[in-house]
Subunit: 149 residues, 2 copies
DNA sequence: GCAAATACCTAGTAATATACTTGGAATTGG
DNA sequence: CCAATTCCAAGTATATTACTAGGTATTTGC
């Protein structure tokens, strides 16, 4: 049940953006360098983040990305779902998937998957980028290590 | 963040074993047929389940598998962890992994991963095979559909 | 004792998903 | 115009998953 690099890089990148929020538009190049992520790969992730209205962009010279709203209004859940898709443990209880099991309404295992799904969603929706940043500021923790591997 | 087939098949197989618990040792062949899972693949899963003391076996003709303890003492979490390994969303907060990030103690993102990890573990550890079975008996739900896909 | 049925074990493999790379087009500021 | 950037589509290498194949060991029933 590991997150893919998409989710992990996405959190790193969004925290990076939040840390530099006052500096205006930030280039992917600088994020890529600080967080040691492929710039081209980041592009793809930011396409998803933009689609989900989590970041805004300007093109051209002096272009870059900026958070689309306050860090306090950006949940970890919204970032992860934008990049990883639904956090449901099985397709059966994935809100995005339309074709369900034919016996979905009588399946006994379903409540297991629903409980896992809801627990994960509750957890990630209760954490905002702002709340993480606060912790970061209070403890002056390292901005270089926003993640592992 | 999907579970692999190991975890899903494992839950199906263990529920199947529990349903037939009074019949003594159950062959993998019959589980494979009922749940439509490759018998050879099930063998591999049951090697892990046995190692985790969740099932017992006898070999030879009339051999098979049986739950190693009461369904009420078998949590969904113990099954999933036996088959999927740690349910941690990133290696950083995986109890089984020894080599941590060098800056693990200062990493800001860590609390995100810890919260997800703990939420998942709490959820799956609060559900037992027995509790699912109870639901199954009360509602006379289908034993064929223990899972989706 | 032999045959059948099972668990047990190891290695290989096909399919799928992940994590990128490549090469460009469009846009903007100087 | 040119450099720097976002934006876009397609290709590819790697890793993981989900099996398959082929055997050995053990037990029961005849």
């Amino acid at each position: 049940m590991r997150l893919s690099t998409k989710g992990r890089y996405g959190i790193k990148a969004m925290l990076d953006l939040a840390i530099h929020n006052s500096e205006g538009y930030i280039t992917l190049k600088s994020i890529a360098q600080r967080q040691e992520i492929s710039e081209n790969y980041l592009e793809q992730l930011f396409a998803s983040l933009k689609k989900a209205d989590l970041v805004k962009s300007t093109r051209g010279s002096h272009g870059g990305y900026i958070l689309a709203k306050s860090p306090n209004d950006i949940t970890v859940g919204s970032i992860l779902r934008a990049l990883e898709g639904s956090l449901a443990p099985v397709a059966c209880v994935d809100e995005d998937v339309q074709e369900k099991c034919t016996r979905s309404d009588t399946c006994v295992a379903k409540i297991i998957w629903e409980k896992i799904r809801d627990s994960v969603n509750d957890a990630v929706d209760s954490i905002t980028i702002g709340s993480i940043l606060e912790e970061y500021d209070n403890n002056s923790k390292s901005s270089d290590c926003l993640d592992y591997i």
